[in-house]
């Protein structure tokens, strides 16, 4: 490598011109473009997004196929409660893990490597970095999960054969789009946690705790408390948006989704405060 050295001469750094006159200055659009470059230039982003897509489509297809082939063995009660939409979208629970991990990583990966200092030196006002990261990651998550959800639904209904349903049935279209709405907020929550905690292990642990563990722990509460707690836990509140019918005892679809958004917003606001206040 050292033999490729060129001797620096005066002017080696190219003639300089007065700074912002040439239009080279920080804008939010440019910060967004930088975050896009950062996201797509890491292999982990591609692998994790691919894992989420495979989870949504693959698991949905598998569950649908198995349901159809085992239909005859299902008891009548099970058949009565059968929901073809939730079967074909069964991979969302798994996909949220991938999206959450990646959402935490796009932030904490910068803290772990020191990249955050370069990012904040380029955009020293800091909050645009959070905004641009959130925008890019949310947009990618939304588009990928929307396409995946439609593929999973249509493929799943094919595999369910005569037990399938269509997009024109009541609430079905909303539920399919709801997959993207849910996962996008999952990602936003994870990005917020990343900025709050700055550590990959802490961020992922908190994410898993909030979304996956807390609902289980909540069921240990006294019966009289549960209705006041369980519906408001993030994943319980948000899950209604990708179901045709909200689970019994849970909030209505859009109220639940609003509560879920509030969780993500809280994490992001806290993350923004930490980002702005604490030394990088």
């Amino acid at each position: 490598m050292s033999n490729t050295l060129t001797a620096p001469t005066a002017g080696a750094a190219a003639p300089r011109s007065a700074a912002p006159v040439d239009g080279q200055r920080v804008t939010f659009l440019r910060t967004t473009k930088a975050e896009w470059i950062k996201l797509v230039s890491l292999r982990s982003s591609w692998i994790t997004f691919a894992a989420a897509v495979v989870a949504i489509i693959g698991l949905g297809a598998l569950v649908s196929y198995v349901t159809n082939t085992h239909w005859a063995h299902m008891n009548p009660q099970e058949q009565a409660h059968f929901d073809p939409v939730s079967r074909s979208l069964g991979g969302v629970e798994l996909a949220q893990l991938a999206i959450g991990v990646l959402g935490v990583l796009v932030v904490t990966g910068e803290y772990a490597t020191g990249m955050i200092r370069s990012s904040l030196m380029a955009v020293p006002r800091r909050l645009p970095v959070l905004g641009a990261k959130l925008l890019v990651f949310s947009a990618c998550t939304f588009v990928l999960s929307l396409v995946s959800a439609f593929v999973a639904f249509l493929l799943g209904q094919q595999l369910l054969g005569t037990h399938g349903t269509t997009l024109s049935a009541p609430h079905v279209l909303r539920a399919v789009i709801g997959v993207a709405l849910y996962l996008t907020v999952v990602g936003a929550l994870a990005v917020g946690l990343g900025f709050v905690l700055r550590s990959t292990a802490g961020g992922i642990a908190t994410f898993v705790g909030l979304l996956l563990v807390l609902p289980g722990v909540g069921r240990l509460l006294p019966d009289t408390w549960q209705p006041h707690v369980l519906p408001y836990l993030p994943s319980n509140a948000g899950a209604g948006v990708f179901a045709v019918q909200p689970d019994t005892g849970m909030l209505s679809t859009w109220t639940g989704y609003a509560v879920f958004c509030a969780w993500a917003l809280a994490a992001l606001v806290l993350g923004a405060v930490v980002l702005k206040r604490r030394d990088a």
Binding site: T4, A10, A12, A13, A19, T113, G114, M115, A122, A280
Partner: protein
């Protein structure tokens, strides 16, 4: 131009930077010297808006770093700790930073070739050696072609060729009229690169002076002499204010005479001289003396250090 006024940083009850005031002028290389833990990196991070000062101000080009509309076009920085995502290629790293300012890709290629990373620019930065990492950091600092350059220990991990390259680069940048502020814990390196030095110890200003003055002030001057007839020369050099000690068979360390005086003596004596080198160790010693009381962690101390690096 960097102006630091009463800059202070406290972590709990530990003061890392204690009321620093100095100005870094354009057109020359200014060294920022101090033992490890003296507060150099913390000062630089505050100048760059990464750490918030407990008190005081730091401005670059007349305003705080965070208020610049195009910070990378104003200040280029290399931080001591790595500031690169290890899984991203050097090229994509620089391209992402350039994108925040609308700096064209052409400039990214330019700086990559300038620092000699052309062959490895598409490889993961995590696989870079310390020296390659430093080069990438320097490329990043030059990306926006800034009038001010701040470099924290830029020669760390570089081979001698690389060290010379950095030295020439810094002098070249200063010759172009830029403000060049470069930290080091090595006095000898700064003596070769910087015209002016700011010396700190335990977060406080110890000296703000030109290198020439510092050298003049250095009390001890030693010259290393190698001669096949070392003993004859030694006898001839002896004098009231002269100390001669032999380092090894043919080498002598002479204190109290200049290299020119020793050379003249050898010629008069007809003794061959194979080496005649004024020792920078004297300067290093001056620095050590200056900062002795301010070194944070003496080897024998057992107090628990708090906080990060320098």
């Amino acid at each position: 131009m960097i102006e630091v006024r009463g800059l202070t940083k406290r972590y709990g009850d530990k003061t890392a930077v204690d009321g620093l005031t100095f100005t870094v002028r354009p057109g020359i290389v200014t060294g920022f010297l101090g033992p490890n833990g003296a507060g150099k990196s913390t000062t630089m991070r505050m100048v760059l808006g990464l750490d918030r000062p407990t008190a005081g101000t730091a401005t670059v080009g007349g305003r705080p770093y965070v208020e610049h509309a195009a910070p990378l076009r104003e200040v280029g920085a290399l931080l001591e700790a790595r500031a690169v995502h290890t899984s991203r290629s050097a090229y994509n790293h620089l391209r992402a930073l350039a994108a925040t300012h609308g700096i064209p890709k052409r400039r990214v290629d330019e700086v990559i070739h300038l620092v000699g990373l052309g062959d490895v620019a598409r490889k993961r930065a995590g696989g870079f050696s310390l020296g390659m990492g430093q080069r990438l950091g320097i490329a990043q600092a030059l990306l926006g072609d800034p009038p001010t350059v701040v470099l924290d220990e830029p020669v760390n991990g570089l081979d001698p060729e690389g060290i010379r390259w950095v030295r020439d680069l810094l002098k070249g940048l200063a010759a172009e009229g830029r403000t060049v502020f470069v930290s080091s814990h090595l006095m000898s390196e700064m003596a070769l690169t910087a015209e002016h030095v700011i010396v700190v110890g335990r977060g406080r200003l110890i000296a703000d002076t030109s290198v020439d003055e510092l050298i003049r002030g250095a009390s001890v001057n030693t010259v290393l002499v190698r001669s096949p007839e070392a003993q004859r020369l030694r006898t001839a050099l002896a004098g009231p204010d002269v100390t001669v000690s032999s380092v090894e068979g043919e080498a002598l360390e002479v204190t109290g005479l200049s290299a020119a005086q020793i050379g003249d003596t050898a010629r008069d004596l007809g003794v061959a001289v194979h080496e005649l080198t004024p020792q920078l160790a004297s300067l290093e010693e001056a620095f050590m003396t200056m900062t002795r009381d301010d070194v944070e962690y003496h080897a024998h101390l057992t107090t628990t250090p708090a906080g990060g690096t320098a």
